[in-house]
């Protein structure tokens, strides 16, 4: 556990008692559980009594005082799932993993949990593994879910999968291609442009495969910081039409097929991106409100 990290989280919330739940949520997000040391630190920093913190940490279902495994499987026990036999699914997971809900396998791979309702009632019985939903789970599909969870969820073989495909990318301002045919990433020509941050300028190459997030940088840039993307030909900054659905930072728009845009988040390390088929007409970009 990194004390500085915890302190940062607490500081972000102005050491405010009122933000206790949000702080705990962030700590849990970072460590998958609430380490005792973190709670003691929290008590010291916010002036909240440890008893109160413990009370809150044990009152809410989300919080765990025990470390969790690498992967987390939650079986929904909502009413809709229950009447469709969710209890049997739990039994099957218990049998396959030899642990009870709330426990973690001895190899620290999988934590089994049950949840009151995931709100995916039409798909019951539902299981969520590391954020991925499995609908209409039957006893016989339990084994497969476990295998896939251990294998890191939906692993996609880029070459064979029709869901992964290359894009031809160009600069929306000068129209020149951004494809670098001499530099191959994931078996395809890479997309190359420039990135600047605090006066530092480096090149960035990324996979042209939609759905892959392979990125190479000339030099490392600090993660989570905002950067700007420029065209290597006309040196203009790429326009931005929207904010990243993942982190809210501005996204740079690259052109695909002339007017469709591949919008890529300009926050370092964020994988947010949208392939937007709506036609963007650059001349109209002075739309009020669009370009604040």
């Amino acid at each position: 556990m990194d004390t500085k990290n915890i302190l940062d989280i607490i500081k972000k919330h102005n050491k405010n008692k009122v933000s206790l739940i949000s702080i705990l949520e962030e700590i849990q997000g970072a460590y998958t559980y609430l380490p005792e040391k973190a709670l003691r630190l929290l008590a010291k920093e916010t002036g909240c009594s440890l008893t109160d913190i413990y009370g809150v940490a044990t009152f809410y279902k989300t919080f765990s005082l025990k470390p969790k495994g690498k992967h987390c499987v939650s079986v929904c026990l909502g009413t809709a799932c229950h009447v469709r036999g969710a209890q049997n699914i739990v039994e099957e997971f218990k049998r396959e993993l030899s642990i009870s809900p709330g426990e973690t396998t001895p190899d620290n791979e999988i934590t089994l949990e049950t949840v009151n309702c995931l709100g995916a009632c039409a798909l019951g019985p539902t299981v969520v593994s590391d954020g991925q939903y499995f609908p209409h789970v039957s006893k016989s599909s339990v084994k497969e879910i476990i295998t896939r969870t251990k294998g890191g969820g939906r692993s996609i073989a880029a070459e064979a999968d029709i869901r992964i495909f290359p894009l031809q990318v160009s600069c929306p301002l000068c129209g020149k291609s951004l494809m670098d045919h001499d530099y191959i990433i994931n078996g395809h020509p890479s997309v190359k442009f420039n990135v600047s941050m605090n006066g530092k300028k480096v090149w960035l190459r990324m996979s042209c495969l939609y759905g892959k997030h392979t990125v190479e940088l000339e030099n490392q840039l600090p993660p989570n910081e905002l950067s700007r993307f420029h065209c290597p030909h006309c040196h203009n900054e790429f326009p931005s039409f929207s904010t990243c659905p993942e982190c809210g930072a501005s996204m740079a728009a690259l052109f695909v097929r002339e007017k469709c845009s591949w919008e890529v988040c300009m926050r370092q390390g964020c994988q947010g991106h949208i392939l937007n088929l709506d036609q963007i007409n650059l001349h109209k970009k002075s739309d009020k409100g669009k370009n604040k």
């Binding site: 009122v18 919080f63 009413t79 229950h82 469709r84 798909l123 019985p125 006893k139 659905p245 009020k288």
Partner: protein
């Protein structure tokens, strides 16, 4: 710099977007759900492929793609709607997507991928044609289809924020409060408090003082409800717009969306929407240049059901444990951080823009007087069309369940709906006429709640449902009030006891009392409603509780400790199918025979004509595979092993003599069992041979005569005397018998066919099916000739049709049935008749059931029987005293009747005539009972002998009755079961013991070493079906149609058994019977 200085500027911008949208000719657009439900079903994959196709084919100018939130029809996910035609393509696979893209560009439709009702071939070309959508009024949810929730421009394009504009134009918010009051909008979170009233109070408290809070309650904790998630995911701006308007109305400047952390996508979409709204100056300081300051933040609830309660929710935001507090003061007066706080539900807020935009008068037109507007329900559970459904308040439950929901998902009937989540209750199907509104539901013992509607069918155990909710509530009770903390826990324990077979009759009184106490003595909504699941199930399903407590049975096969191995629990004669299946697998056939025979005196007969309740309950069939072919395995054993392998022990001769009347399966079984106990038994049979229905009704191609004769012979012994040609009422009376015998068992069957009650039914050539079958089976008379019509849909109709087909002078056979083929062999006339008479019929239904019974029809059709469904005969034509034809009318499926099925309703003008030479009426059989009444037996108003169903005692001491005589036509295995029960009762009667024995659950007790079975492999393997004679080899003769399995196949079939018994017998799991190998609940 502000995006907009004034409301007018924003208005111009908004209008320009709409104008721009109108100006461009609409391209065809693919609409696909990217909500949680859609994504879980794989819509993301489809979206990628669509994008790929569009780019590769250079179609971006010709085709649009809209990724929306939840569209409500989640059962069909992932699906695509193509505009402008609104063609709906359900449950799409990745390979089919490109075809839809290509067709959409050309304005074409891919017909074979279009939606059709499950089981129907009728294609529905547009969304509006689909019954699921037709029945709805989607003023709130409908918007989801038209916008991409992460793009504010989409929301503006569809008229979004117009209501806000209106609200800002008249900055004094009073008119808004007035308008909402007028609309009579009630809180959609469940309690139904008038929103306008709440706003009025909030407005008037501390007028002008800040801060004031408006909180959107999206802590949708009710398991089974997900409309709030869908709204927040699919149309977050509507919620935000509603909140801003609310803020203007009550003078709040802080907004909070309290959303469950289990809804990551809703949080994401709401965050994006807030960002976008801020960007357009719709939130923040001086909204659109006005003096109004208002902003919204998101608070993630950390998972506590009680936080849906407003005071607990507030504590939670304050960073404390979510314990409710006493009200008053209400949050309106003293809420978040002590400031006035107005809390509204997501759906309530989503209604606000509509009301402001269209006016309260318009809104009042929807719904009923005190329940205006619509409500979204999440229709889930055992229903065909699961999804979100928005209907005007006051819509009857049946409309939602049957018309929109499409009825049950499987073949089991719908029993009840549960509304209102853990605070709600169950409403039985008999009350489905009830309009859905706040007041009616409350009167029925449930609540509206946030709108979960969980459909339950006969495979749902209501005691288990109550237990489920109590388990939930005992975990979620915050613990502040003692009665809630301890009460829910104790209620759960009692229910747990009942479902484990430890229930006592005192438990029901205790449950009732305790539930009432919890209700009366707790502080918050959770506690006050916590007892509802118990109280409402006790109110409407008390018989299920009693069945668990008194009979130790769970008829839904859900409670494991009462069910054991489902195949065994399903068997009326308590055979242990798992046991002999395991023995056959090991090659121990003789031992297997003994296991079968020890429970069932008619193994060879049963292996041919049993209706296989065991297979219909097989866990393999229920969990996605195909049920083990138990009957075929039994046939294999009985064909191979001689009955001498089982030698029953004859007990010491007793002095009492017993009379059994009727030598059918019930009578013979009773006689046999009593004889083994040492009683002398005399059997009186009206015909010249034993067997009853086995001999006179069942055709020999299904059940060869020699099998019946041989099996009955082995059951007779020196203690049994049989007198043939002796009919009760004609040759002897009960009084005669009473003089000579210490006890009497009546099992004379049901030998009278129901008439059609049409004119000319008595002319030559018209036969009741029983007469027709008896004439042939007993005397070899062939009554049918020429063109034959058979009316009916039960087994005897199919038997009559197939027997007729085998008669020499027959040219053709038509089977006419008034319902659909799917519903066919359900003994439905009997069911209807029995329901009218108040008899409770246990119907065991599950996916394989159809399969099992349909094969007889299948066989008949293959042999050449023509099947005509949805027709009713209305007239019989005769010429010179002989039938020459009938007139029929066609039916369509109408309203849902008491049996939960659609009633066949005649279509006027659809009459048609059918030329016939023979008409066989097979709409059901009934027992003759008038003469029994003359002999002093009490008869019920349906004409059946009154008996105690548990002991078979009649109104006369020492006289017992059972079988078809009492139940109406029933299965062979049920008759055998009755015989066994009669023997037991008579024995106890003669020994002066109490007739009822305390029930115990029948659980597997012997451990049989399992073969190494891979369960997944077992599920993948196909069921082995026994070979049948080809139709050409069986028409016009009576050779047995179904053959036995060869040894290797029989043993292979046994290896598919999941061995559910092991959970109760294996060494590792003894002491923890809830263990692993069991599955029990259905998922269809």
């Amino acid at each position: 710099m502000n995006a907009f200085q004034t409301v007018a500027e924003f208005k111009a911008y908004r209008k320009s977007i709409i104008e721009n949208h109108k100006k461009h000719p609409a391209k065809p657009c693919l609409v696909i759900c990217g909500g949680t439900g859609g994504q879980a079903s794989g819509s993301n994959d489809l979206i990628r492929i669509i994008k790929r196709r569009i780019l590769e084919q250079n179609l971006q100018d010709k085709l649009a793609l809209r990724i929306t939130g939840c569209l409500g029809f989640c059962e069909m996910d992932p699906f695509i709607i193509v505009e402008p035609g609104y063609n709906l393509y359900p449950k799409l696979k990745m390979v089919d997507v490109s075809r839809i893209v290509d067709a959409a560009v050309k304005g074409e439709v891919v017909e074979e991928l279009l939606y059709r009702e499950p089981g129907s071939t009728v294609k529905r070309f547009t969304e509006q044609d689909i019954p699921f959508f037709q029945g709805q009024t989607r003023i709130v949810l409908g918007q989801n289809q038209h916008l991409d929730p992460i793009r504010i421009s989409n929301y503006l394009k569809t008229g979004g924020y117009e209501a806000l504009e209106k609200a800002l134009e008249k900055p004094d918010g009073n008119w808004i409060v007035e308008e909402i009051l007028k609309s009579r909008l009630r809180g959609r979170g469940g309690a139904g408090f008038l929103t306008g009233k709440k706003w009025e109070l909030a407005r008037n408290v501390n007028k002008g003082h800040t801060p004031k809070y408006i909180i959107c309650n999206a802590d949708e904790g009710d398991p089974g409800a997900y409309m709030d998630r869908s709204m927040l995911e699919g149309n977050p701006h509507a919620v935000i717009e509603g909140m801003i308007i609310a803020a203007i109305a009550i003078g709040a400047n802080n907004g909070i969306i309290y959303v469950r952390t289990e809804y990551p996508l809703a949080i994401k979409h709401a965050s994006i929407a807030l960002r976008e709204a801020r960007r357009l100056d719709l939130l923040g300081k001086n909204i659109l240049g006005t003096s109004i300051d208002f902003d919204i933040e998101i608070f993630q609830g950390a998972g506590a059901f009680v936080c849906g309660e407003e005071t607990a929710l507030i504590k939670s935001i304050e960073g404390k444990m979510g314990e409710p507090r006493q009200r008053p003061p209400f949050p309106i007066q003293k809420g978040l951080f002590g400031h006035p706080t107005c809390i509204n539900n997501v759906e309530t807020l989503s209604n606000i823009p509509y009301i402001i935009k269209h006016g309260a008068d318009e809104y009042l037109k929807i719904g009923t007087a005190n329940n205006s507007g619509t409500k979204i329900f999440s229709l889930v559970g055992k229903i065909k069309n699961t999804g979100l459904v928005e209907v005007p308040l006051g819509t009857p439950i049946s409309t939602v369940v049957y018309d929109i929901g499409g009825g049950p998902s499987g073949s089991a009937k719908i029993k009840a709906i549960q509304t209102g989540g853990p605070s709600g209750g169950c409403i039985p199907s008999s009350m489905f006429d009830l309009p859905i509104d706040y007041d009616s539901l409350a009167k029925a013992g449930s609540i509206m709640g946030s709108g979960g509607m969980i459909v339950m069918d006969q495979n749902t155990c209501m005691v288990d449902v109550a237990k489920y909710f109590m388990n939930f509530l005992k975990d979620e009770s915050c613990g502040k009030c003692f009665t809630c903390r301890k009460g829910t826990q104790r209620l759960h324990e009692i229910l747990e006891d009942i479902t484990r077979g430890k229930g006592t009759s005192g438990h029901l009184i205790l449950l009732d009392e305790l539930a009432q106490t919890v209700k009366d003595t707790t502080m918050c909504g959770l506690g006050q409603t916590a007892a509802n699941p118990v109280l409402s199930t006790l109110r409407y399903f008390r018989d299920e509780y009693e069945r668990h407590i008194n009979d130790k049975r769970c008829d839904a096969f859900v409670c494991k400790e009462l069910t054991g191995a489902p195949c065994q629990a399903a068997c009326p004669v308590d055979t242990e199918p798992w046991h002999y299946v395991a023995l056959v697998e090991k090659g121990e056939y003789e031992e297997a025979y003994r296991v079968i025979r020890s429970a069932n005196p008619f193994p060879a007969v049963s292996s041919r004509v049993c209706d296989r309740k065991c297979e219909s309950r097989c866990n393999l069939g229920i969990s996605g595979g195909e049920a083990v072919g138990i009957r075929a395995i039994k046939r294999f054993v009985t064909d191979r092993i001689d009955s001498s392998a089982y030698k029953p022990k004859l007990g010491r001769k007793k002095k009492q003599e017993i009379a059994v009347v009727g030598a059918g399966p019930a009578g013979v079984t009773a006689a046999h069992c009593l004889s083994l106990l040492g009683y002398g038994v005399t059997v009186f049979e009206a015909e010249d041979r034993p067997g009853g229905m086995l001999s006179c009704s069942l055709p020999s191609y299904r059940l060869p005569k020699n099998i019946v004769e041989k099996e009955i012979k082995t059951l007779l012994n020196k203690n049994i005397k049989v007198e043939y040609g002796r009919a009760l009422g004609k040759d002897l009376t009960i009084q005669d018998l009473q003089q000579k015998f210490s006890a009497i068992f009546l099992s004379i069957g049901a030998h009278e066919s129901w008439p059609l009650n049409l004119e000319n039914e008595d002319v030559e050539g018209v036969f009741p099916s029983i007469q027709f079958l008896k004439a042939f089976n007993m005397r070899g008379e062939e009554l049918a000739r020429g063109h034959v019509g058979v009316i009916g849909g039960g087994n005897s109709a199919v038997d009559a049709a197939r027997v007729a087909l085998r008669q020499k002078e027959v040219i053709s056979v038509s089977l006419l049935y008034r319902r659909t083929r799917e519903e066919m062999p359900a003994y439905e006339e009997e069911i209807d008749a029995a329901l009218e008479e108040g008899v409770r019929i246990e119907t065991l239904i599950s996916p394989v059931k159809i399969h099992v019974r349909q094969e007889e029809i299948e066989a008949a059709i293959r042999e050449g029987v023509e099947l005509e469904t949805l027709v009713t005969p209305i007239k019989i034509y005769s010429k010179e005293g002989r039938v020459v034809g009938i007139e029929c009318i066609k039916n369509r499926l109408g309203e849902i009747d008491a049996s939960g099925r659609r009633k066949p309703t005649p279509i006027p003008g659809s009459e048609f005539r059918l030329e016939l030479d023979t008409l066989i009426v097979a709409i059901g059989e009934k027992p003759k009972s008038e003469f029994l009444a003359h002999m002093g037996l009490e008869i019920d108003k349906g004409g059946r002998i009154k008996i105690n169903r548990k002991t078979l005692e009649t109104s006369m001491k020492g006289v017992f009755a059972g079988g078809d005589l009492v139940t109406g036509p029933n299965t062979v295995i049920d008759a055998i079961a009755t015989g066994k029960k009669a023997a037991q009762s008579i024995d106890r009667f003669l020994q002066n013991k109490p007739l009822t024995i305390p029930a115990t659950p029948k659980l597997p007790s012997i451990f049989i070493e399992p073969a190494a079975v891979d369960e997944t492999a077992a599920q993948a393997l196909r069921r082995v079906e026994p070979a049948v004679l080809p139709p050409s080899a069986r028409i016009k003769n009576f050779r047995e149609v179904t053959m036995a399995l060869p040894e290797d196949q029989a043993r292979a079939e046994c290896r598919r058994c999941l061995r559910c018994d092991l959970a109760f017998t294996s060494k590792q799991t003894i002491g923890q019977p809830m263990a692993v190998a069991m599955g029990g609940v259905q998922h269809d």
